[in-house]
Symmetry: C2
């Protein structure tokens, strides 16, 4: 794409000025429409050093009220802290919320290209990274994001001229780094790597726009034109329904909830105490190993109200070093969470390597409560099974242990526990009207849960059912599974 | 995709039957909605020999009224006749019209894969073909088509079993070809080629659905489910606005119409007669060479009303063998043309190799009359520049000479000619009320034409302006350009 790139002709000075004025006004006028439509706008700037990425961002944002935009500066290698998260993490953290702009002064491209150039990234990893990026960009679009990607292009000669000019002036010479000079020397080789990446990530709904950045005003005009055009089009798409992709992940065989045998899954107090002590000791040791081996562990709990999730989680955490784990109780999303891709609040709550995060309720809300209460469209939740599998695959590829528990009880057991909560003063806070309302929808939920488990029990992140009519039994089973899966990961 | 493909579990006999019934009814019910919404539905079936492509198509269509579907059987190598057209031609000919289904018993995939397997297709051609296919599928989607792609998958063992069963019965053994047996023997090698193609063409809006075809009823159910799902989603998308891609084609520098010097572009009768005779003789010889060298030639005429297109075309055709050329006068599209992708009526009018087609008005109507009269949406005509460049690039890559003429006169000259037509009984048929109405929009048209010429003057299919205040001058200029371009092609 870069080598064939044809510089369109720059307009004459006066026409350029007139058009700039027009496009600036257009962008300015669109911010309220974006706000009203709740459109999140993500603008990626990549390109050559000294091509003026920062400068053009500086000019573009002058047309937007500071409340409506932020600039993410990711033009640097990941920090040691960031390296302990999946590589997409630091970028996803920065995605805009509905109705707002987020400008990226370099995004995921630079990290990949740098890796290739420094010989740190083999072909397989490159392919995987490109796939992750394409998947994420597709997910963002599918979920209503406008993603506009610019590559600021200058020739080798022009880059040299700019670097020389900076170096020639005492006040600016500090701005030129060794990396800049090296880039200019290796321009041709780097161009090939850029070019390959641009081709590999040029998707129909997130195409690249290559900007002739040889002149600053002209570059600004091109950026504004493409950006305004993209906004125009995105604002016209009210509800976008996108194809549901086929599941291509390897799946585990699963049972329907109604086929699960709850009877006889019972432990005596003695059995329980004995097992609990033994298993917790074992998990404690494993927790330390996981920490030292820097394996991230994600444990996800879903289950019926009053199924015993809280008590179960406590038996796990009791065995762990409080510095190494976090429990994340998941309620309805906050406004700032609701305003972003629905997986964002989970991406940002991931454990770093060597740590454990336990989610008390999870991203599966999308295909249970959000589906049944119509908090999202049918297309949204139908798409979500695959989006979630993609999310978990990303985590699994990163090296995470992912354990998903469905805590199962029958309807009578729930009624007994609800009634007990209602009648026991110190437990009354645990039961709400909503619990009773949800209970009325038991059958609808059961259908949705069966579909969820069937469609998301991948081999790399399977569901485990915890039969929890006897809570003790469920706790011991959970501990055994956690221990087994961590052991597997330590060996692997 | 194929190797990792996980066979989802087939439901039990009874559940399967119930679901089949449900999905069949759903498809049946959707045909009227498709009709009303004017949705064209293109369903591609690819896959292994003996996987049951034909059988499943046969079952699917039972649910649709014969008025609403057709089956295109392209499960064969292109004929000698078809080989004289661009490779996409025989497929594009078959695309469905709005409100109807078209099922493809193999489509462009098979031809590519066969080429690779027979060693007839080098890597460059493969890459180019895949690019052409992805571009075409994207164009179809962008223009409101639903494109659903199925790959019917069976294992090597299953294929062998089926072929053996056919061979073992006198009544069916004739159905097994040498190619079938060869495919089974080379299954693993072919699977790799299939797999690569599936990955290379798996686009977010035209994804592949891989069908486990080990059981016929089960295969039918999967197909119906994915098809119904796709229809559901497509029906929900009323007007889809898609990103305008950046022009990435190499462009020629062009002038604005208002900067074109019309004065002094004049020939005396003597000069004209002399030149005309000489040039037509030359073109006649070249026409023969083009025929023998099998070069396709496309000459496109656009211009103001009364600019002299007709007379100009006559001076070209006078030099050609009537068996070798066709003039295609382009008026408003017929209903069956309007019901398809707007380039369809031009695709189907292409010359075969060695022939010349002259279009009197062209596909550029999209960005002139259709734009200004709002026969298409803004997104439609804005997208069209790139779509047209892609179309012409496809033709150029095929080896076609493409010459585009803009026949230019000024407003006063048009008025004089209109008045003359009005006042001369034998010319009155040439002037209509519409011509006068269009004339009122001269300035709007001029703006649209300037944009059109600027955005579609690619190096491989540039515009040539014919200054036609003196029609003789314009005719001689046209002849010279046609001669020059054909000579270039004969050398190349």
């Amino acid at each position: 794409m870069l080598k064939d790139f044809i510089v369109s002709e720059m307009p004459e000075e006066e026409e350029l000025k007139a058009k700039l004025k027009e496009e600036r006004a257009k962008l300015s006028a669109s911010q309220m429409k974006i706000k009203e439509a709740g459109l999140p706008v993500m603008v990626l700037f990549e390109g050559w050093n000294a091509a003026g990425k920062g400068a053009v961002i500086g000019k573009v944002i002058r047309n937007i009220d500071p409340r409506f935009f932020k600039v993410a500066t990711l033009d640097r290698a990941p920090s040691e802290e960031e390296k302990r998260y999946p590589f997409l993490y630091r970028y996803i953290k920065e995605i805009p919320e509905a109705g707002k702009f987020r400008f990226f002064d370099t995004c995921w491209m630079e990290e990949i290209v740098d890796g290739v150039l420094q010989g740190k990234m083999d072909e397989d990893t490159y392919t995987k990274r490109v796939h992750s990026i394409n998947t994420m960009e597709r997910q963002l679009c599918d979920n209503g994001y406008l993603v506009v990607k610019f590559f600021m292009n200058i020739s080798k000669k022009e880059q040299k001229k700019r670097l020389d000019a900076l170096l020639g002036d005492k006040d600016t010479s500090w701005r030129v780094t060794d990396a800049d000079i090296k880039q200019n020397k290796q321009y041709d080789k780097i161009e090939e790597v850029y070019d390959k990446y641009l081709c590999d990530t040029n998707q129909s709904r997130t195409p690249w726009y290559i900007i002739d950045a040889s002149d600053k005003k002209w570059a600004e005009l091109q950026v504004l034109q493409f950006l305004n055009q993209g906004i125009d089009i995105a604002l016209k798409n009210h509800t976008l329904n996108v194809p549901i992709l086929q599941n291509t992940f390897p799946m585990e065989k699963v049972q329907k909830l109604s086929d699960i045998d709850l009877a006889g899954k019972f432990l005596t107090d003695e059995e329980y105490d004995l097992e609990l002590k033994k298993l917790q000791k074992e998990l404690k040791d494993l927790g330390n190993k996981v920490y030292r081996k820097k394996i991230p562990v994600i444990i996800a709990y879903e289950g019926w109200d009053a199924a015993g999730k809280g008590g179960n989680i406590k038996r796990i955490t009791a065995a762990l070093d409080p510095r190494d784990y976090v429990v994340e109780p998941i309620a309805s999303p906050e406004p700032h969470e609701k305003a972003r891709h629905y997986l964002w609040r989970f991406w940002t709550r991931l454990p770093k390597t060597g740590h454990v995060t336990i989610f008390d309720r999870t991203w599966y809300g999308r295909v249970m409560v959000e589906r049944l209460e119509e908090f999202c469209s049918e297309n949204d939740w139908q798409r979500a099974y695959n989006e979630i599998n993609e999310f978990e695959k990303e985590l699994s590829d990163w090296g995470a242990v992912i354990i998903k528990f469905w805590v199962q009880i029958d309807k009578d057991t729930q009624l007994a526990r609800f009634t007990d909560r209602q009648n026991t003063p110190e437990k009354q806070w645990k039961i709400t009207d909503e619990d009773w309302r949800n209970r009325e929808k038991w059958d609808l939920y059961e259908g949705a849960i069966d579909e969820m488990i069937a469609k998301t029990s991948t081999t790399f992140a399977p569901w485990y059912v915890l039969e929890s009519v006897d809570k003790k039994y469920a706790r011991i089973k959970a501990l055994k599974i956690v221990i087994r899966e961590i052991k597997k990961a330590l060996k692997g």
